[in-house]
Amino acid sequence: MFQSPLRIPLIKGRKTYQSITSDLLNPLMNKPAKLWYLGITLSGTALLFGAFMIFWTVWQGIGTFGENRTVGWAWDITNFVWWIGIGHAGTFISAILLLFRQKWRTSINRSAEAMTIFAVICAALFPIIHMGRALLAFFIFPYPNTRSLWVNFNSPLVWDVFAISTYFTVSLVFWYVGMIPDLGTLRDKIKKGFKKTIYKVLSLGWKGSARHWHRHEVTSILLAALATPLVLSVHSIVSMDFATSVIPGWHTTIFPPYFVAGAIFSGFAMVLTLMIITRKALKLEEYITVSHVENMNKILIATGSIVGLAYITELFISWYSGVEYEHFALMNRATGPYWWAYWIMMTCNVISPQLLWIKKLRTNIIFTFFLSIVINIGMWFERFVIVVTSLHRDFLPSSWTMYKPTIVEVGLFVGTLGFFFTAFLLFVRVFPVIAIAEVKSVVKTVGETHPENL
């Protein structure tokens, strides 16, 4: 097969199959570094703090939140949308980039998918406790009951339940199916003991037969084809939670594509944050290279620009439509008491990703790391702006109010961050963080004739 000599290799350092296996299993086989213990102590503490706040909320009720009669949705729904959005990058990398045959995805898809799963768990927490009686959360599922009532299938909130539970299940299955061959590698590398038995069970007797690989590949590509519209549907439905209401500032037809672009934008920012730490901590610089970071940065420019366009379109339409409520809602966002949140959002999400047009900056790891955190913050504020500023000054000026979070709400958010990082730190210790078999299949087909590799 002809390969352009201009195409740079995906993996640096002329790897053999054996060295790929040992490099990628290294983080699992050795004792973790001091940094790992430090990380898990911090994130574990945050997780415990959050767990206590969950207990406190369930015990006391949501009177512990700063929400009031005017602002009924606030910090928790902001977090819900933020986490769901972060999850989207994983499916985007593993499904959409697979359909587009983007081979560079092989170095990051495993951990991005793991991130999706943890993020969706974090997201699901918020609507459940926001229901007030978390122990009755199963009421949202349609099951035969003594009241002979069903859920309202016309409501986007119910669609959300279906969308998110399907998304979680399919992502989990996709992740696990992709991991079976690598679990086989782990099983064969570990010599004996309890760990070996665990991996034997998990790898489902994978033997690398050509027929099995064939079925495995067919299944993976079809799962990708299913997950692609799924991931677009999930955030579209989340956006309909807002868009189908009659609240000015929420009642917008642009929401579904705008939310999906925003989700992928924030998700890639989170992938970058995590990957830049991971490649350093686990010494995977040869697998997650600067060109991987650059590719992700290019996606940040694309999605960030769509998000910027959506913000500006929203502003334009609020003026052009001539609807005074819409006009007021948007003006209140930009110049009202929450102006600072709006302008943080604008700066972080619209202006900052434009810096990535400069090649020097988008290939700079430290700048990218810093920027990814800026974008994470900006996207959190986007949801905060949408949720809170649209509500706090409603149709009746006598009920205008301000919203301030309580320590319980902040604690819940910190707790989910703790869960997310704890889960990720445990994940890098028990599963191969990069898809070993997939990397092996691309190491020789891309860039072998590049001068850097000869």
Binding site: T21, N152, R215, L222, L226, A227, I237
Partner: protein
Amino acid sequence: MENINYISVSFDDEIPLLEAVGKLKESNEKILDVLTPFPVHGLDRALSMKRSRIPLIGFIFGAFGAIVGFGFQTWVFTINYPLVFGGKPFFSAPSFIPITFECTVLFAALGMVSAMLIKSKLKPDSKFIPFDENITNDKFIILISAEDVESARNRIKLTLSGINIIAIK
């Protein structure tokens, strides 16, 4: 494979493996299985493998999911417990679509994955012993059925002369 006589030929890369598969096919050897550490492209064609029917299974499950999702919502809102929501008709099909779609994807995905696992006989097995521990690392193996092992070994050696082989057993 206790009762079958076979010969295993191992390689260290995909290109000699593909060449060898081609040559063995030409000389009408019966290839039992090919074991590789990663999916080798072109191997399914070289082995003239039949296309998997997993896409069909996925379609059937997906169609079933769509019918279940749409049918259930219709049944609930037109027959079992009709309720008026916002003055809309009982049978408000457009708003049934999101859940129908999610059910389609869920059923199709779970159906396909189960089909793959069942067809490949992949199941949790704590007693599993791999054919060779390096298959999942860097070894490529062809298993060839042979009635008389000694003569078959010499024959295969001759057929594969010129290809980079690690071992014939």
